[in-house]
């Protein structure tokens, strides 16, 4: 791991959590998706997905639009501009940590 702890501190912990990271990755590659699509793609339970989405929404990373389509509740999701920027920053910082990783010494 990197010798500089400051670089590790730059890693966004909210995104770094594996479940939230997969949600962020999935939403990053699309313009928008609905709750059912994420549920299918990520193979999560509705409760689990919902709780992680709430945390990402609180941070302002995910925009959640709840509406009714043909009298059925529908949840549309998309990354906000802040969320996209945060994810790009996270990607850059994580890459930096591994770039600094020393080569494995030969035995």
């Amino acid at each position: 791991m990197t010798n500089d702890p400051a670089k590790l501190k730059k890693i966004n912990r909210l995104i770094h959590e594996p479940t939230r990271l997969t949600i962020m990755m999935q939403l990053y590659v699309v313009e928008s998706a609905d709750f059912l699509f994420l549920l299918n793609q990520l193979q999560m339970t509705p409760g689990n997905l919902s709780s992680h989405l709430s945390k990402l929404e609180e941070a302002g990373y995910v925009d959640i639009v709840k509406e009714f389509i043909e009298r059925k509740p529908h949840t549309a999701l998309q990354l906000t501009k802040k969320g996209r920027e945060a994810f790009k920053e996270y990607k850059k910082n994580l890459k930096q940590v591994f770039i600094d990783l020393p080569k494995t010494p030969k035995k």
């Binding site: 990053y28 928008s32 529908h74």
Partner: protein
């Protein structure tokens, strides 16, 4: 995590949204109608084949969207892909259209130029090989850019059928009918598998509340 992984996720997303076989059914039907149109023209001596391919895309889009809404979205949800993916597909569409138009212009209006006549003769005498190569190339580009691997198989089938057509004297319409039937049947099989794999949950889970 790197860009390759994100590209993989993007491709997986695209594949999962098109695993329902609807795209195959519509493309197959389009080729099939093209073949039927040409066949009708030879039988009835009426130029219906211009009408069928011209009308079908206009009807296809609303039917396809409605089928997606009724079959796919209630089962796996809705996703709107970013512009990057659709731009790539649009570039392939435009490239193919420009190449096709160029070839059409050359064959239709190139009779005054010596070099054009020579190329035109080559195109006409080797049309089956050209269509076969064009088919496999276009399908491969689409397969590579979208991740839909079955398009490689469609390209290969098209190539084999048209190369066979170069050596065997069978009316052109029959080649289109064969390819259209294969792709349409494949689409229906995919649709059947999709419906079996993703049964409709009563009411569906479309919301977290």
């Amino acid at each position: 995590m790197n860009n390759t992984n994100l590209k993989d996720i993007e491709k997986r997303t695209y594949i999962s949204y098109h695993q329902d076989g609807l795209l195959d059914i519509f493309i197959g039907t389009y080729i099939l109608l093209f073949g039927i149109g040409i066949l009708l023209q030879t039988i009835t001596d009426f130029s219906t084949w211009f009408v069928i391919p011209a009308i079908f895309p206009a009807l296809m889009v609303p039917i396809w969207m409605s089928a997606k809404k009724k079959i796919t979205i209630p089962r796996i949800g809705y996703v709107k892909m970013g512009n990057k993916g659709s731009n790539k597909i649009m570039a392939v569409f435009i490239g193919t259209a420009v190449a096709g138009l160029g070839m059409f212009m050359l064959v239709s209006f190139g009779s005054n130029l010596d070099w054009a006549v020579a190329i035109k003769d080559q195109i006409i005498s080797n049309s089956m090989i050209i269509i076969g190569i064009a088919g496999i190339t276009i399908c491969s580009i689409f397969a590579y850019s979208t991740g839909l691997k079955r398009l490689y198989a469609y390209g290969l089938i098209t190539f084999i059928i048209f190369i066979t057509g170069y050596f065997v004297s069978i009316p052109f319409a029959y080649f289109l009918l064969t390819i259209g039937t294969i792709i349409t049947i494949s689409g229906f099989i995919l649709l059947w598998q999709f419906i079996k794999k993703h049964p409709l949950i009563d009411g569906g889970i479309v919301s977290d509340k």
